[in-house]
């Protein structure tokens, strides 16, 4: 047997098998490395483009108009307190913004202006325009958002 050739052939596959074994052992403790799943609240799901999770949480009764704590590292480096709609607008995700509006998310005049100013010409702007509260002027100069 040509030993160097045998090692060259076998080592990568053996490493893969060992890694698979370790991953399965971690999975037994709920921490499979390639299927790392973290429980999120509605605002966090909206902020990280988890459309299916947004649907599931709304159907399980989470309020699309409530504020939720968003952990550091998901949208900002610091903790924040956001509504799902704010999180989806920050992430510029039209699918989730539409989903939230379709499931009862509402915005008052002041929040709408804040979100619309933040959105600028992004992909979610047309959706926000379609849900503009009546008689609200859009004045962005000097405006700060709740998460600024």
């Amino acid at each position: 047997m040509n030993r160097p050739a045998a090692f060259a052939v076998a080592i990568p596959g053996c490493l893969l098998a060992a890694a698979s074994l370790v991953a399965l052992m971690l999975a037994a403790f709920g921490d499979y490395p390639m299927w790392r799943h973290e429980d999120v609240n509605l605002a966090e799901a909206a902020g990280v483009r988890e459309e299916a999770e947004v649907t599931r949480l709304i159907e399980r009764g989470q309020d699309p108009n409530a504020s939720y704590p968003v952990r550091p590292g998901l949208l900002f480096e610091r903790p924040a307190n956001l509504t799902p709609l704010e999180a989806a607008v920050i992430n510029d995700d039209p699918a989730i913004v539409a989903l939230l509006f379709a499931n009862g998310a509402t915005v008052d005049g002041q929040t709408w202006v804040a979100l619309r100013c933040f959105a600028g010409n992004s992909r979610v702007s047309p959706l926000l325009d379609a849900h503009r509260p009546a008689a609200i002027p859009l004045e962005c100069a000097g405006r700060k958002t709740a998460w600024d």
């Binding site: 299927w35 483009r49 299916a52």
Partner: protein, 455 residues
């Protein structure tokens, strides 16, 4: 590794697009017999047992459909790997090293990736791989009436499951031609008669024919994908060049992992100035492995002519037969799952070739270094590709969960599904099961994973 893939598959929802209609069909069907009759034939296909299997599993699931169908899928992957390893007939440490390589080839190839993610409630393409590997195991066995009966049963079930099912006959005949006597001559004659009966039923009695360019599937040509309409416009008058193209590209896709689905991905990348890592990570190990196989085949041929044999050289012949037959069966449209049987047998041929390479001792040290380097690069890239199957399944699971989230069970009639109360209840249950799965968010996965392992 089988358990590792099974773990992923159990977290993958049943798919909406290719599976919901099938499940609603079997729900509406009153019996297995009714299902068999209703699905023989259907369009240009003769696959009655395919739907019967779905019906059987559906009825046996006891309402736990995710567990039943994904569990069956996981079991098929485990069975395929078991039969594959068994066919290698590992006896020595050299065999063991080559077998490790062959498993990564089998699971790293585009054909396996395309097959393992298949979306039907039961993965029938994977079933055909299992049937063909089982046929090889039977041919390698000591034989007996049980083996002979099993060969006939496997052929019938495979042939009535998918159009590629008759590949079981190809494996048995090729095995016989190279001296495998596990399946007796009498059984081979019976299986050949059954093939004749299948062809007569298909082409004469039922006048089904075969799928043509009107089958309605996208297929690659050159550097781009063509829609069914584009295929009809370009090849409607004379489909033969298109069929020949599909056969040729199917062979190349097994030997070199490019083209993929009929599209020459490397050429497309060059033309578009968009060289993709995922294409090179597939083609480079394929080219190296095919080169090693070609070298070993040349040596085996020389030895054969001088009256000597290379251990396991018969697998080269079986692989050649399966590759040719499988490519011909893929004439209508190119798809990795259709050519997946040839992919499995390519990995068997790779085993024999690499085993020979391990035993080979070059006279010049420089040549030995080159050989080791080639084997090391190929082996590392195949293992890397194999690891990518997990990422692919994860990405697909995430997408499928979104598909379920977008489906309103009360409005399935708008999508053309049956919409009575039981159908809506089944859809709602499948949707609930999909949404309740704990699936990682692939939007949060590093971009390199998609660059190297994505679709």
């Amino acid at each position: 590794m089988a358990v590792s893939f099974a773990h992923d598959l159990m977290r993958k929802p049943i798919q909406v697009s290719d599976s919901l209609q099938e499940l609603l069909d079997v729900q509406q069907s009153p019996s297995l017999a009714a299902t068999f009759v209703a699905h023989s034939p259907r369009g240009p296909f003769l696959r009655p047992i395919r739907q019967v299997q779905i019906k059987m599993l559906f009825d046996a699931a006891g309402g736990r459909y995710q567990l039943a169908f994904r569990g069956f899928h996981a079991m098929l992957v485990a069975l395929a790997l078991f039969l594959f390893v068994r066919a290698l007939q590992v006896r020595t440490w050299t065999d063991c090293a080559a077998a490790v390589f062959a498993i990564t080839v089998f699971t790293g190839m585009n054909t396996f990736r395309g097959t393992v993610r298949e979306a039907f409630p039961i993965n029938h393409f994977l079933e055909i791989v299992v049937f063909c590997l089982l046929a090889l195991n039977l041919a390698q066995s000591r034989g007996g009436w049980v083996t002979d009966t099993a060969a006939a049963v496997v052929f019938v079930v495979a042939s009535l499951t998918l159009e590629s099912g008759p590949l079981v006959w190809v494996v048995l005949v090729a095995g016989w031609l190279v001296g495998l006597r596990g399946v007796s001559r009498r059984a081979l004659v019976i299986v050949t008669l059954l093939l004749g009966a299948y062809l007569w039923t298909r082409f004469v009695y039922l006048s089904i024919g075969t799928p043509g360019i009107d089958v309605g599937r996208d297929s690659g040509f050159g550097a781009s994908m063509l829609t069914p309409e584009q295929i009809a416009v370009r090849f409607g008058d004379n489909p033969l060049p298109f069929y020949l193209y599909n056969v040729a590209t199917s062979v190349l896709s097994v030997l070199f992992s490019d083209p993929d689905r009929g599209v020459f991905q490397m050429a497309r990348g060059w033309l578009a100035g968009d060289a993709q890592a995922r294409v090179y990570s597939a083609t480079v190990p394929s080219i190296l492995t095919t080169a090693v196989i070609a070298w070993a085949v040349a040596v085996a041929f020389r030895r054969y002519r001088s009256g000597q044999r290379m251990a396991g050289d018969y697998l080269f012949v079986v692989f050649g037969c399966v590759l040719g037959a499988n490519a011909v069966l893929a004439y209508a449209y190119a798809k990795p799952e259709i050519i997946s049987v040839a992919g499995a047998f390519y990995a068997l041929a790779a085993f024999v070739a690499v085993r020979y390479a391990i035993e080979y001792r070059p006279v010049r040290p420089a040549l030995n270094r080159v050989l080791c380097l080639v084997l090391a690069v190929a082996s590392a890239l195949w293992a890397f590709r194999s690891a990518g199957v997990h990422h692919m399944l994860q990405t697909q699971a995430f997408r499928e969960r979104v598909e379920w989230a977008r489906l309103d069970p009360e409005r399935i009639a708008e999508r053309g599904y049956p919409s009575d109360a039981p159908a809506r209840a089944l859809t709602a249950q499948l949707r609930r099961e999909a949404l309740d799965l704990r699936i990682a968010n692939t939007n949060e996965v590093p971009a390199w994973a998609d660059d190297w392992w994505g679709e």
